[in-house]
Structures are given as C-alpha cells and as structure tokens.
C-alpha cells in the first residue's frame, strides 16, 4: 500500500515537479552503460552486414549518392545567392541582420527500445561532444525534438510529439504564427490556437518561427492535415502531420547556434523572459489533465 502511494507520488512529481527529473538525470548515468551493452550486438551485426555488402551494390549506391550531392550542390548555389540578397535587402530595410548561424553535428540514435509512451530517444552524443540541454534535433526532413538530459556519452531527446511539448511555429505560406503541441501520437501535432477565420489550408507547410530562441526559424515541422472550423469553436482545431521520422529514423543532426558576429546586433536572440519558451510552455501543462493528484 505504502509503496503504491510512493509510486503515485513519484509519478506526479516526475510529471510536474523539479526534483525528480534531477534525480532521474543523475540516475541516468548509472543506466547509460546498460544501453551501450544492449546495443553493442546490434552494432556488431550491422558492421558484419556492412562487410558482406557486395561491391556492386556499394558502387551503385555511391553513384546514386554522388548524383544526389550534385543536385543538392546546385540548389545550394542558388540558395547562397539568395541568402546574400536577403541579407542585403534586410540591411536596407531595417539596418539589422537577423541571421543566426548554426552548425550541425551528426549523431546516431542508440537503438534500444524505450517505453513507447515516453516520447524520448537516446542519441550517442553526450557531454563529451559538447552537447547541452535544449539543443534542437532535426533529421533530414524536419524538426524532431530537443535535447533533454545530457549524460557522459549519450543524451536523451524529447520528441515534439510529447503531449507536454510546445513548439513555436508559423504557417509557411501566410506567416501566421502559432504554437504546435504534441498529442502523444507520433503521427499528429495539434495547433489549438489558430483563429477560426485564419487563412490555413490543408497541405500548408508548418515551419518553426524561431520565437523563444530555442529552435531556429524556418525549419519544416509538419504539414496541415485537417482543419476543424465548426460553429461555436473559439479557435479552429488544426491537426498537422510531422515531417520528421519521429518513430523511425536513425541518423539525426544536432543544431548548435554559433555566436553571431559581434559587429552585427542580433535581435533574434531573446532574453530569458520570452513569453513562449519552446519547451514545456505553461499553457501546455495547464491544458493537460491534473495528473495523479
């Protein structure tokens, strides 16, 4: 009985409080080696299969990759020119550049199966590679989540599908800013704060708005899948499908913001008192049912 109560209290504290997450991140150091040990045979197997791959297949893959690279390079050239032009126009317009530069760090997921309801994945970079809590994590397609606990050689990433996660976004087509909440389902994000008469269409691309300063602006997040504008609702209920492979994927990129040129004032870096912090927005925890109380 007593242990049952203790468990309930622990859960409530983990859900809401401050101390238990701290305990968890300490205890995580003990669990870390276990994850490595469990994943080791998987890695070894993959290595063996890598050796067994035929030269033919490798050559074909190489050719395909080179073709891809060439294409990407071509589009990057255009992008570079456009970025130049963009900064020039911005300087003309307001005398400031909002460009924050980002560096990418390549990381791999550690393949252990966590609880499917935890909305977390583990990556193989930790404090030893300079990872800090709060870094944005993306994959080739879009935003995945943000770094939560950092351990010695690995860290956990909270996915954007977590029901307590709020992500400042905007509709790419119209620039309408809103917040995308996780729903607990890796296939859906919900945007509950879009005005009913706002211009949103199914198929619209949702990108990060960069507000809150944790996620850089302009990265694709999701595609609008359904809009509910029923009579009597204050806001339209917009559901969107995340673009990043939240439940699959193996390779991820960690974004690291590089200190901008000190000569250029940087309005994009917000103070600590930003109204919508990227993580655990107060609105999110209030909207959640009062758990375990």
């Amino acid at each position: 009985m007593m242990y049952g109560l203790l468990a309930v209290v622990l859960m409530a504290m983990d859900h809401r409080g401050q101390y238990v997450p701290r305990f968890r991140s300490l205890a995580g150091h003990l669990v870390e080696p276990v994850h490595y040990v469990v994943e080791w045979p998987v890695r070894a197997l993959r290595g063996v299969f890598g050796y067994l791959q035929s030269t033919q297949a490798l050559r074909r893959e190489n050719a395909a990759l080179q073709r891809d690279l060439l294409q990407q390079k071509a589009s990057l050239q255009r992008l570079d020119a456009m970025m130049e032009e963009n900064t020039r126009l911005r300087t003309l317009l307001e005398g400031a550049s909002s460009g924050r530069r980002f560096e990418f760090q390549f990381a791999e997921m550690i393949e252990v199966d966590l609880d499917p309801f935890s909305h977390k994945v583990i990556i193989d970079h930790g404090r030893d590679r300079g990872i800090v809590s709060g870094q944005a994590v993306i994959d080739g397609a879009g935003i995945m989540g943000q770094v939560e606990d950092v351990f010695q050689g690995q860290s956990t990433v909270r996915l954007i599908s977590d029901p307590n996660h709020a992500l400042p976004v905007q509709i790419n087509r119209t620039g309408l800013r809103t917040v995308a909440f996780g729903t607990g389902d890796t296939a859906h994000l919900s945007m509950p704060a879009v005005p009913r008469e706002a211009d949103v269409r199914i198929g619209d691309l949702v990108v990060t708005s960069g507000l809150g300063g944790r996620f850089p602006s302009g990265y694709p997040v999701a595609i609008v899948a359904s809009i509910d504008r029923r009579e009597g609702l204050t806001f339209a209920q917009v559901m969107a499908v995340p673009i990043a492979a939240l439940d699959r994927g193996r390779e991820v990129l960690l974004l690291k913001s590089v200190a901008p040129d000190p000569a250029v004032p940087d309005p994009a870096v917000p103070g600590p008192a930003t109204p919508v912090p990227a993580t655990m927005a107060p609105a999110a925890s209030e909207a959640a049912p009062p758990a375990h109380e």
Binding site: G4, P163, D247, H292
Partner: protein
Amino acid sequence: MNSHRERISPVLITLAVAMVLTIFPLPSALVPMRPYWVALVLIFWCLETHSLITLGNAFLVGLVLDLLTGSLLGMHALGLVILMFLVTRFRARLRFFPPWQQALSVLALLLNDRIILLWIISLEGDALPPASFWLAPLISTLLWPWVFLLLDHYRSLARHHKAK
C-alpha cells in the same frame, strides 16, 4: 548471511536478463508483441521463493525498469507493486494450479497491469494506445509455461551448484 546472498544471485541474474530483453531493439512490427519479461520473472520468483520478492523489492525493480525505459518514474513501479501484491495474496493457490490454469491467471494479472498502465497514460495526457497494446499480455501468457520451465531448470541448476 552468506546463504542468503547465494539465494538471491539467481534472482538478480534472471532479472537482469529480463531487463536487457525489455530494451533490446526489435523490428518495429514485433515491438508490441514484446512480452513483459520482468513481470514474468518476478512472478516466478515470487511463487517459488517465499521471502525474496517483497513489495519493496518489486518497487525497486520497477524503478530500475522506469529508468531504463525512460518512462514516467514510478509507472512500472506501481504496476509491479500491485502485481506482486496480488501474487502474494493468491500465492498458495497459484502455486498448485496446473500449468494452463496458472497461465490463465498470469493473463489476468498482466491484463490488470495493462489497465493500470492505461490509466496512468491517459492521466498523463497521452493519446490512447492502439489495439496492439493488448497483444503483449497474450504473448506473455503463451510464453509463461516455457519461461516457468526454463527458470525452474535454472533454479535447480543453481541450487545443485551451491550444494557441490
């Protein structure tokens, strides 16, 4: 003291194996079918040894499991404590059930555990899990007789080893 330690080591070893099996990566199609290994092992030791699996120990095992799987701290702990309470309550009867009847009671216990889990998940604000959520107790039940035999064999081996 010494004999106590030797008795607990097979329990710890099998529990460790069960935990590794719990987080061992499986193809995503198989993931919902992963048996609740830790619960099976705990039920076995609770039925076989009288004093080792107390509610407190079950709670600790659940906490370790929570840390390993990154779930809400206390989620598995609560489930396992309730599970162990039920097993100790009906231990005298469960022990002398024929295997198929025992397997059925294990199914009931694990379904109960899933219901508790469901309650926690929905309180946390998560979406309701798909139907495959209920597959794991069924698979666990099918595996129970074999797990039982295997652990029993291991136990007699360990005991034999000690006697020597």
